[in-house]
Symmetry: C2
Subunit: 154 residues, 2 copies
C-alpha cells in the first residue's frame, strides 16, 4: 500500500497545505466520461461541441471532480483510516477544462475536531483547489472528511 | 433530439417538481468507476471492501453524482438551451449505494431569475434528490443552472 501524506487523524493539522498530482485530460477520456454520464453536446465530441451553445469541447464538471478525487486518493487518503465522506460543499467550476490540460491539486485543511459520538475518529474539512498547467484554478470545493485516530498499542 | 421536460428558461417555474429515471448500479460499473476515479478499497471490489473500514462494497459518491447527472441530461436538460453550470452546493451522501440498487431522481426548482448582464438567459437553482428502489434518499445536492430564453421570432 502506497504511503500517503497523512496516516491517521492526528496527522491532520488545520492550516496544513499540500500540493500533488499531475493528470492529463485526454480528448478521448473527456468524451468517454461524457458519453456515459454527461452526454451534453459540448462534452461528447469536437463536432457536436462546435455547434453547441458553448462552442468548444470542454470536460464535464463531474469528470473534473472525479479526476480531483483520483489524485486525492492516490496521494492523500490513507486506505487504513479514511472513512466515507458525508458531503461536499461549494463546488465551483471556474475555468473550462479542455483536452490536453494537465491538472494538479492543492488541499488545505480548514479545521479538525474529534468526533463527539465516536471517540476513535476525527472530522475535518478540506478546501480543494484544482489547477491547470497555466496555474489557473479550474475547480474548487470543500469536503467534510472522517478519519480514524492512530490505534492505541495493546 | 429527444424532447425534454423543459425547452427554454421560460418553462422553468419555481416550485415545479419532476421525477424521472431508472438507473441500475451494477457491481461491475461500481468497480470500473472506482478503479478509474476513486480507488479506495470499499469501492473497488467485494473482497477489498469486506476487509476495509466500511466492510462492504459501496459506490463512490462521485459515481452516484455522475449517474444523477446522466438522468438529468436524459430527461431534463435541453441541449439547445442549457449552458454549463457554475456550481453545485450541499452535496450530501445520505445512504450508501450498493450493487443492484435502482436509482431515480426528483428535481425541484427552488428559484429562477433573469440574468442582469445577459438578457438572453436566466439563472435558476435546482434541488436534486436521488432515491433508491426503497424510496430512501441516497443523495441530495443543489445546483446553479443557466438556460437560454426562448428565441424571439425574427
Amino acid at each position: 500500500m502506497k504511503k500517503k501524506i497523512v496516516s491517521y487523524f492526528e496527522d491532520v493539522v488545520p492550516g496544513m497545505s499540500v500540493e500533488f498530482g499531475r493528470y492529463r485530460m485526454s480528448e478521448e477520456e473527456i468524451m468517454t466520461f461524457a458519453r456515459a454520464y454527461d452526454p451534453q453536446p459540448f462534452h461528447t465530441g469536437r463536432e457536436s461541441a462546435r455547434n453547441s451553445v458553448v462552442g468548444e469541447l470542454i470536460a464535464s464538471g463531474w469528470h473534473t471532480c472525479a479526476v480531483a478525487m483520483r489524485m486525492i486518493v492516490d496521494h492523500f487518503n490513507p486506505a487504513e483510516s479514511i472513512l466515507a465522506s458525508p458531503g461536499v460543499d461549494e463546488i465551483r467550476w471556474l475555468v473550462p477544462v479542455r483536452p490536453g490540460d494537465e491538472l494538479s491539486v492543492r488541499l488545505t485543511i480548514l479545521d479538525a475536531r474529534e468526533s463527539q459520538s465516536k471517540p476513535d475518529r476525527g472530522i475535518f474539512r478540506i478546501r480543494t483547489e484544482v489547477f491547470n498547467q497555466n496555474r489557473e484554478i479550474v475547480l474548487t470545493f470543500t469536503s467534510v472528511n472522517i478519519m480514524r485516530k492512530r490505534p492505541v498499542p495493546a
